[in-house]
């Protein structure tokens, strides 16, 4: 029983991390149809910042990592994607692959191919015992962080005028512009929010590993993209739910598969993904096209 509870908390934490990463991708996709693979390099930039500045104190390091992630995200938009407004989603995706590889080489040149290490928030690596169940502090912190960010984002998207504009643009960008919502404002906002979410993911994953290399953000971005697609990347909540589901399933499989099979946990997750896409190609949370109401 205690093992089940422990793995449930771990799975919730993994789901929360991937949910945030998928949301970072989904927010931008909703507005300009860009599934930004280079989100991984924003995560990596945030992680490097944490590693190199942690000794200055968390109150400097964390805000600095957020600023770096947001600025890199906005720079990507200004220098690359804003010049490709007429491009198809497939072309944009390929461009983001190119940008991702380019930034990985830049990180290699700047920080070498070796991993950089630092004890980022090492106190979160400890475990606590609640009613006989040992739970990692990091898992609890991750779930709390995700809950705070999602609540804040939800409040922003439903209460603030800018948030509402972003939500409308993510739902129907052409109509949003036709009713007067400025394109540059909502696109910039979506990239900035994506940067904040990527910084949060960078924090959690850096605490987990304590080591960052040039391809640090790639594995989580691949899983987050997959999650966003199966949840329904067209919808912000779909991307979030899909990311959560993939993270949750991966963690549960790692905990419960027999030792000789757990190496193949990703294969089982992707089988689940194929199954979902065969049954609901539009994504789990996207409604099918119904009859037009008159």
């Amino acid at each position: 029983m205690s093992q089940l509870l422990q793995s449930l908390v771990d799975a919730l934490s993994a789901g929360a991390t991937l949910g945030l990463a998928a949301l970072a991708i989904g927010l931008v996709f909703g507005v300009i149809r860009l599934a930004n693979f280079a989100t991984g390099e924003i995560i990596t930039a945030g992680a490097y910042t944490l590693i190199f500045t942690w000794q200055l104190g968390w109150y400097i390091s964390i805000p600095f990592a957020i600023i770096v992630a947001v600025l890199l995200s906005l720079l990507m938009e200004l220098s690359v994607f804003s010049r490709m407004r007429a491009a198809t989603p497939a072309t944009l995706l390929i461009a983001s692959f190119g940008l991702s590889f380019l930034l990985q080489r830049v990180y290699e040149l700047a920080f070498t191919n070796n991993v950089q290490t630092a004890p980022v928030a090492s106190e979160l690596a400890q475990s606590i015992s609640i009613g006989g169940v040992r739970i990692q502090m990091l898992s609890v912190a991750t779930i709390l962080l995700a809950a705070i960010l999602l609540t804040g984002l939800q409040l922003f998207l439903t209460r603030a005028s800018l948030g509402l504009q972003l939500k409308a643009a993510a739902a129907d960008f052409k109509t949003a512009r036709l009713i007067g919502i400025p394109a540059s404002r909502v696109i910039g906002l979506s990239f900035a929010l994506s940067g904040i979410l990527a910084a949060a993911v960078a924090f959690v994953t850096t605490v987990q590993t304590g080591a960052v290399g040039p391809t640090f953000g790639v594995p989580i971005t691949i899983l987050a993209l997959v999650g966003a697609v199966i949840g329904g990347i067209d919808k912000i909540s779909g991307a979030l739910a899909g990311g959560f589901l993939v993270g949750f399933a991966t963690s549960m499989l790692a905990s419960w598969l027999p030792q000789d099979m757990s190496n193949f946990k990703d294969a089982y997750v992707f089988m689940l993904v194929i199954g979902v896409l065969l049954m609901r190609p539009q994504g789990l949370l996207i409604r099918g096209r119904g009859a037009v109401r008159t």
Binding site: L178, R293, T294
Partner: protein
């Protein structure tokens, strides 16, 4: 500005898709306080005309709004010059509430201080929106969504209101409600440009109706032409 300058003036408008002309140098006037119709068969260039006026697709020619050239402006800036489009298929934000849709309509207002008054006017014109203000827009009927789409456009306080097939897919009662509202909007001194498939209805309602055929205006009709079968036949079949 004299009253004669108010409204929409389109001169020699052209639109092409990959070099294939869709609108071939049309000119039309939509004076303040009048409703002007644009009818024609599918593919005639009606929607392209509206979208190009909004700056949503590239165009040639001149578009003047209250005498001001809006050349090269993106849609969000054209809205701030005083033009609103109610798009074909309504395109309300289905997951947002009726009130949020109306709030978003006000983003393009030139005079932000008039928001409360504009909201009151819209809710008075369309009482159903007041009743369902907290309901998700996607749960409204087609007629109610059309009222919301028009109300959302009015929140921007446009001088020129354009509507792309506002009767599409609506019941006869809903169509009556929509056109009664358009009559009130015209009475408020706004210039109204309506693209429609329902020829007789549009010709009777509008002060003047242009017939668009293969990207060109081939005929200009008056309300009294609404029941003239020969004129209607000529309008659609040449």
């Amino acid at each position: 500005m004299s009253n004669a300058d108010k409204g929409l003036s389109v001169v020699d408008l052209t639109v092409a898709y990959n070099g294939v002309p869709a609108v071939r140098g049309i000119s039309l006037e939509v004076p303040a306080g009048q409703a002007i119709g644009l009818i024609g068969p599918n593919g005639a260039g009606k929607s392209s005309t509206l979208l190009s006026i909004m700056g949503a697709i590239p165009r040639g020619g001149t578009v003047l709004v209250d005498g001001v050239d809006v050349a090269g402006l993106p849609p969000e800036k054209v809205v701030r010059k005083g033009v609103s489009l109610v798009p074909e298929g309504r395109h309300v934000f289905a997951d947002l509430t009726v009130m949020d849709n109306l709030r978003l309509g006000a983003v393009g207002r030139r005079d932000k201080s008039g928001y409360a008054e504009a909201l009151e006017n819209v809710l008075t014109m369309f009482p159903i929106l007041s009743e369902f203000s907290a309901r998700q827009a996607g749960l409204l009927s087609g007629g109610q969504q059309q009222q919301l789409a028009i109300g959302r456009s009015l929140m921007a306080d446009p001088d020129v209101l354009m509507l792309d097939e506002p009767s599409l897919g609506l019941s006869p009662t809903a169509v009556d409600t929509v056109f009664e509202a358009l009559d009130v909007i015209r009475g408020l001194g706004k210039a109204v440009l309506v693209v429609e498939q329902r020829a007789e209805f549009t010709i009777a309602f509008c002060n003047r109706t242009y017939v668009l055929h293969d990207g060109e205006i081939t005929l200009t009709l008056k309300p009294e032409d609404a029941n003239n079968v020969d004129v209607l036949t000529q309008a659609y079949f040449g």
